[in-house]
Amino acid sequence: MNARYLPYVLITPVALFLCVFFLYPFFLVARQAFGDGGSGFSLDNFRDIFSYWKFNTTLTNTLLLAGAVVPVQLAMALLMATMVSRMGKGRDLVLYIWTIPLGISDLAAGIIWLAIFEQSGFLNSMMVGIGALDRPANLLTYQNAGLVFLAIALAEIWRATAIMLVILVAGIGLIPKEYYEAADVFGASKWKQFWRITLPLLRPSLQTALILRVIMAFEVFAVVAALGGTLFPVLMGETYAYQFDLLNSGAAAAMALVILAISIVATLIILRALRVPKGATI
């Protein structure tokens, strides 16, 4: 076959596939969200979801959760990645352990933390065991909104720090050792090296990690379903509820666009905040 056409032949399947299952569905979801059941254009679906009493709680919950979880994860992932980069013996084992949650679904993560927080769970057993409580308390209830939030946040931190870790470890691996050697020669402390070399040169990886993670945080669904249920409504859960409990797929589509909109805004903010100066490479 002519080598000139070969690359096009090779990418055609993926390109076609993504057009049918990625671009076209987005067009459909937008049409459905802005549609009125017929062929006209209307904002009724958005009016519907914005006027629903739960919407503000749902949005705040999602943003609060992302705001609480992502900075902690970023700090943890940075700490873990720098620790691993200095590690000699046992590096592979530690990295394997730290990346285990990468393969675990959000639903399983929710169930895992349920084992700790449920009424006859391990946290209660421990609290009663050390005498802090007389009898097991029902922790995940409406009265303990703070605890529900904490349980969900812990499960999210537990589950999704690994993805940032992997990206940052790979990113640190791309930074040439010479910079650190030079810094050593000039007597810069490890702390200073971290702030002056690692962080600035890690910017592209930080960008990727944060974008990926923040979008995942807005999509949080199964962890919440397993731990909080309806106690802690989030955007994705409400989208699911619109589709199945209320059988209102127009509103579900509108919700999907709201999630998409905040994802895009967050992506743009991260891209802007961590922009790599033009022409700068490692």
Partner: protein, 277 residues
């Protein structure tokens, strides 16, 4: 030894202990919750529902056998396996050629194509399941494993393209050129020289695709109502089922993930190193 040396040696020693303690703590942070799930899954239903909990498993298969006998769960497990296998095959079959094209050729739409691939990662993809649910009903793909596998492939294929791109880039073009001069065609050079070298990496990215599909909850719950996958089944029954069933289900969900991550651990970082760019 002077006093200041002594002090700094002590400080270094303390720092070393702090370092080790932090590593151990972070390992425990990952492992202890997993262990607790295993304790629950490997205990009888009575033990799981009793109080207080023992920190050691009974090694009783009561919960797991109850899980296996629960109505519909084996079908759900089977569905999950089928969908994940289909996703794995499709994403490699269409992703790997594109990865090869990106690593070996300069062509006009390359930038646009890469943008399309990268764009998929900046969108909340599971939401696509909503319009696709309607599209699938029209085309008769609703409730089929293939329909769901299409959506999961959309999730997995960008990774497959980027990973195989990085793998192919790691194999020098000279190897292929040498094969051509020795009488291989492009195709035989690929199958005899490149493929054997790349196979372990391809396997790793196939496993990664499998895990993505195996773990996905939202699209699975939207697209399969009758033929639930395991995640969709567990999600649907979260409110109603007995608690030991949830833990057994969680255990079954986690187990393959542990093995898979172990199998692909060498490739994880190479995958992401390139995916950053």
């Amino acid at each position: 030894m002077s006093q200041t040396d002594q002090v700094s040696a002590n400080a270094r020693k303390a720092g070393r202990y702090l370092y080790i303690a932090t590593v151990v703590f972070l390992c425990a942070w990952v492992l202890v919750p997993l262990y607790l799930l295993f304790v629950n899954a490997l205990s009888s239903a009575e033990a799981v529902n009793s109080f207080p909990k023992s920190a050691l498993p009974e090694f009783n298969l009561g919960s797991l056998s109850f899980f296996a006998k629960f109505q519909g769960i084996l079908d759900a497990l089977k569905n999950s396996l089928i969908v994940a296998t289909m996703t794995m095959v499709m994403s490699i079959a269409i992703g790997a050629p594109a990865g090869y094209a990106l690593s070996r050729f300069e062509f006009r739409c390359k930038a646009t194509f890469r943008l399309l691939i990268l764009m998929t990662r900046a969108f909340p993809l599971p939401l696509l399941a909503l319009p696709l649910a309607i599209m699938f009903i029209r085309t008769g793909l609703d409730e089929t494993a293939l329909g769901l596998a299409f959506v999961h492939t959309t999730l997995a294929v960008p990774f497959a393209v980027l990973i195989t791109f990085s793998l192919f880039s790691g194999i020098p073009l000279e190897l292929e050129e040498a094969a051509w001069t020795l009488g291989c065609t492009r195709l035989t050079a690929f199958t005899k020289v490149v493929l054997p070298l790349i196979l372990p990496g391809i396997t790793a990215s196939a496993i990664f695709a499998f895990v993505i599909s195996w773990n996905e909850v939202f699209a699975a719950a939207v697209l399969t109502i009758e033929n639930r996958t395991l995640t969709a089944f567990l999600l649907q029954n979260l409110d109603t089922t007995a608690i030991h069933l949830k833990f057994a289900g969680g255990f079954i969900l986690v187990l393959p993930a542990l093995i898979f991550i172990f199998a692909v651990r060498k490739y994880l970082f190479a995958m992401w190193g390139i995916a950053n760019r």
